[in-house]
């Protein structure tokens, strides 16, 4: 019998990747939608329902919807009673904010350049559209409801400024690239100041989408660090921290947000010493939103902290890292990454909870939308559907955009995850 190595050599075909199966649309539909009689029935029934829903929605939006009520009140919905001769201020703020963020993102991309791990492929137009289309749809809807050429010019200029600043950000001088976080802070302050300073309007007089954005961004930015501190406090070895954090979390979580908003409106003033200027209603609402969300963020983050194996802490300790550094450099980064979906869920929740501030007399988009149906020109015409659709759309764009960005973040940070 021939030994194995004498066997005639058979030419092994080079493997050319996994087999590729290409099927047409018709083939795919036959295999997935009409493969059995009951699947065919389901496909037809749901196809008809979906087609009808789509048709009805489109007919409402483009044919039957009486958008005059939104059209006439668009400025009110966006900035409420902001003096009409000072509308350049919110516009300027929008431009400053957009340019700052775009410059920052460009500078960050430049800082990552050449780094073997963190460098990302250059931004393509397709990528920009994929990430920004919900905001684009919002801008388009607002423009369709606006009148005159000026808003169109300004929005186009805004998008152009965003793109230009993003590209310019990559070409900033080195020292400015390193100081990009400072740039972000300066830009953020300027965004506020251009609205407030030199005879502008303080946030206690803001309303509409502008107030919604202010409350949501402010509450997200401040409830996150507070929540992280509370989560760490609840797991602290010091009983005092643990007690305070636990009592806080359990107390706040046990109370409806509406209660907190009312307490913010009517009771928070008692906690300020006599003679101390009482914060405005907007600030008190913001405090209530921050306190409320922080408790939930704390529990979400605590879940993340618990998911980190103790061996990670031991490995960091064995290197000689101090307890603070073990937490800051090893535990927290992993814990936060693990809870991104839940955390963003919490922030989306907060974004929509801002609608509740109307209960204490603040006017964000939803409450203004309700109010405008009572105007003399529009009273008793059954315009609830139109204004609710508009307010819902504004909230949906924000929530959906956050959700998409969080998925992107998850995917990016998941690289190399065990």
């Amino acid at each position: 019998m021939e030994s194995v190595d004498r066997m005639p050599m058979v030419e092994e075909p080079e493997p050319s990747g996994p087999p590729v199966r290409e099927i047409g649309l018709g083939q795919w539909m036959r295999e997935n939608l009409f493969n059995t009689w009951y699947n065919t029935v389901l496909t037809i029934v749901f196809g008809v329902i979906m087609a009808w829903a789509l048709f009805a929605s489109l007919r409402f939006v483009f044919v039957n919807g009486r958008w005059e009520v939104v059209r006439r009140n668009l400025t009110l919905l966006l900035v409420e009673r902001f003096p009409r001769d000072q509308l350049w201020r919110p516009w300027a703020a929008l431009f400053i904010l957009t340019i700052t963020v775009a410059l920052f993102l460009g500078a960050s991309a430049a800082a990552r350049r050449g780094d073997p791990v963190r460098e990302r492929p250059p931004l393509t137009p397709v990528e920009i559209v994929r990430r920004m289309w919900p905001l684009g749809v919002l801008a388009a809807a607002l423009l369709l409801l606006s009148s005159g050429i000026l808003p169109i010019v300004l929005v186009v200029a805004l998008f152009a400024a965003a793109l230009g600043a993003r590209l310019a950000g990559e070409r900033l001088p080195g020292w400015l690239t390193r100081a990009r976080f400072l740039l972000l802070v300066v830009g953020g302050v300027a965004t506020f100041e251009v609205v407030i300073a030199f005879g502008g309007q303080g946030w206690e007089r803001w309303g509409g989408l502008m107030l919604l954005l202010f409350l949501a961004v402010g509450a997200i930015a401040l409830s996150f660090p507070l929540g992280v501190l509370l989560a760490l406090g609840r797991r602290s070895r010091l009983p005092a921290f643990r007690l305070v954090s636990t009592v806080y979390i359990e107390l706040i979580r046990g109370v409806p947000l509406i209660t907190l908003l009312f307490m913010g409106a009517f009771m928070l003033g008692f906690f300020f010493p006599v003679g101390f200027p009482r914060p405005s209603l907007v600030v008190r609402a913001l405090i209530a939103l921050i306190l409320f969300t922080a408790a939930y963020v704390a529990e979400v983050v605590r879940g993340g902290l618990q998911s980190i194996p103790y061996a990670q802490i031991e490995a960091a300790q064995a290197l000689g890292l101090s307890p603070t550094k073990v937490t800051r450099l090893v535990v927290l980064p992993q814990a936060l990454r693990a809870v991104i979906p839940a955390l963003v869920g919490q922030f989306i929740s907060l974004w929509k909870d801002v609608a509740l501030v109307s209960i204490i007399g603040l006017s964000e988009v939803l409450s203004i939308a309700q109010r405008i149906t009572q105007q003399t020109d529009f009273r008793a015409q059954g315009l609830q559907a139109e204004v609710l659709a508009f307010a819902g759309f504004v909230y949906w764009v924000g929530a959906y955009w956050m959700s998409r960005e969080s998925q992107r973040l998850e995917k990016r940070l998941g690289v190399g995850e065990r």
Partner: protein
């Protein structure tokens, strides 16, 4: 080594005594005695391999040396510094003692390079350039320089363990503790890790290794110690330990693993 890094003096420990001194070390988990009076000295540049059945207290013992476990009685001193509740002593000892774990325990959110340079940068306060330079040299020494910019999850088990060794070495420790470093590895990866450990031993590192790799013990160890039920039942040179074990428990154990 780059020029800024002073090579360690190959002399006796600071107080002239043994590098690691253990006297009557006891450790209790509730009512269970994990260590029941361990006496063991390890001299500078000595390599001690600890063997013994699972649950015999080997891991607990070496974890007491850098205070991942708190011993309840007895005295442990590293390089003349006693292991006490004093956090400064503990930090000082942890800077001098590197540890390698059975399950690697690399930080999954950091690249291999960042894993290795984290300790020097944060604890020894080296500059980024200096720490990364040293880290790269160490990765070359453990033969995985090409993995520097990958995440631990992208590496094989053997590569991860070698990265973990580099991470411990980056702190320029005077002692290295190995807690069953090859037990979680596939057979074909054990050798690459043991080779790195052999090179390390030959370079004069003081090492305590909890391991059942008899070949490694015979070739590299200066002494082999047998743990059983929280006691050090027998120790000796590898030649004597493996060819002529004195204690019944050692004979039984060796007959089971050889």
């Amino acid at each position: 080594m780059s020029e800024e890094v002073e090579p360690r003096e190959a002399a006796a420990s600071r107080d002239g005594g043994a590098m690691i001194e253990c006297r009557g070390v006891e450790k209790w988990f509730g009512k269970f005695a994990a260590l029941r009076g361990i006496d063991l000295d390890v001299d500078l540049q000595e390599v001690v391999v600890i063997v013994g059945p699972s649950g015999s207290g080997k891991s607990t013992f070496i974890r007491c040396i850098n205070r991942l476990e708190k011993h309840d009685r007895g005295r442990i001193a590293v390089d003349g510094i006693e292991v006490t509740d004093d956090i400064r002593h503990i930090q000082e000892i942890r800077r001098e003692v590197g540890m390698v774990f059975q399950s690697f325990n690399l930080f999954p959110h950091l690249t291999v390079m960042d894993n290795v340079s984290l300790g020097p940068r944060q604890v020894r306060r080296w500059s980024k350039d200096k720490a990364e330079g040293v880290a790269m040299e160490l990765l070359e020494r453990v033969h995985i320089p090409e993995q520097a910019h990958k995440y631990p999850g992208q590496l094989s088990g053997g590569q991860q363990q070698r990265a973990a060794i580099a991470r411990a070495l980056a702190m320029q420790p005077r002692v290295m503790l190995f807690d069953e470093p090859t037990s979680a590895l596939d057979p074909e990866m054990i050798k690459e890790v043991l080779d790195v450990m052999k090179e390390l031993a030959l370079s004069g590192m003081t090492m305590i290794v909890v391991s059942h790799e008899i070949g490694f013990a015979k070739e590299v160890a200066d002494r082999v110690a047998m743990f059983d039920q929280g006691k050090l039942v027998e120790e000796g040179t590898p030649d004597r330990f493996f060819s002529d074990p004195q204690h019944e428990r050692t004979k039984l154990f060796l007959s089971q693993i050889l």
